[in-house]
């Protein structure tokens, strides 16, 4: 397998939850692969043991040695991408060729405003929108 690429429409790498994810995949090799699989998934990164959740996968059957095919996937409403001190949740697309298991990965951000939630450790109280009433 000489080349595997994932190209997202408009070269976008950031999306709102629930948004459609359109693009194309391309491969090139001397012999046609048996099949290819495109996975949409999230995984955790950070101090903890990695967890993975595959949301959707597309199988490209009867591929030619060199070919480009388009795809359209839909992102779920959750989880958001997040960047934390201990835990990050990262979304990605992965294209796998079989039987060689050659792979390429494209990470994306998924969150409100097309941004990952950034979590910073707090040591002290932070101000908030607050209203208090004591007694019944």
């Amino acid at each position: 397998m000489n080349g595997l690429t994932i190209q997202l429409a408009g070269d976008r790498l950031a999306f709102n939850p629930g948004e459609g994810l359109a693009g194309s995949v391309n491969w090139s090799s001397e012999q046609a692969p048996r099949s290819l699989e495109l996975r949409l998934f999230w995984f955790t990164r950070g101090k903890g043991i990695e967890d993975v959740g595959v949301v959707e996968n597309l199988i490209f059957e009867q591929p030619l040695p060199q070919e480009t095919r388009s795809f359209l996937l839909k992102l779920p409403q959750a989880p958001y991408s997040c960047l934390g001190t201990l835990v990050s949740v990262v979304w990605a697309l992965e294209l796998i060729a079989y039987p060689s298991k050659a792979v390429t990965r494209q990470e994306i951000e998924v969150g409100p405003g097309r941004k990952a939630a950034r979590l910073r450790a707090v040591a002290t109280d932070r101000p908030s929108a607050l209203s208090v009433r004591f007694g019944k």
Partner: protein, 145 residues
């Protein structure tokens, strides 16, 4: 033995009861917290009600697994030093829309909770945590971010 004694004494601490509305809030929601404390409220020197968001990561350390926690949000809802104010009351807090909703996978977690803390002289402090599930913001609320 000391730890057993400590936890035995803590059994006689004031006991808080909370009502959270809405029960399963979304990011960006205003949350109302009503509390009632029964028992020796007058023994509390101070009292704090907070909304807290924490990251939790479970990792392998040799033959054992360990879990590390780090708070990313700690929002004051109420605090007092007066027994009549500690006994019952209510407060509101807005969950910031730009933070992370509750998330649980096998070894990693984003957890939200309401914490009630109070210091008691010569006695184990009051420290109770009530888990709260925070959902993602509704799609319309996130379009303008």
């Amino acid at each position: 033995v000391l730890a057993i004694g400590y936890f035995f004494l803590a059994l006689f601490n004031p006991r808080p009861r909370l009502t959270v509305t809405p029960g399963t809030p979304r990011l960006g929601d205003s949350v109302r917290v009503d509390w009632e404390i029964s028992g020796r409220v007058e023994s509390l020197k101070n009292f704090h009600v907070r909304l807290e968001g924490k990251e939790e990561a479970t990792y392998q350390s040799g033959d054992k697994t360990a879990t590390e926690r780090s708070a990313f949000a700690r929002l004051d809802i109420a605090s007092s030093t007066l027994p009549q104010e500690m006994r019952s009351g209510s407060g509101n807090v807005i969950i910031p829309v730009d933070l992370m909703h509750s998330f649980t996978s096998k070894h990693n977690r984003i957890a939200w909770s309401i914490r009630i803390d109070g210091a008691i002289q010569w006695w184990p402090d009051l420290g109770e945590e009530f888990a709260l599930t925070v959902m993602p913001a509704p799609p319309a609320a996130t379009e303008d971010l």
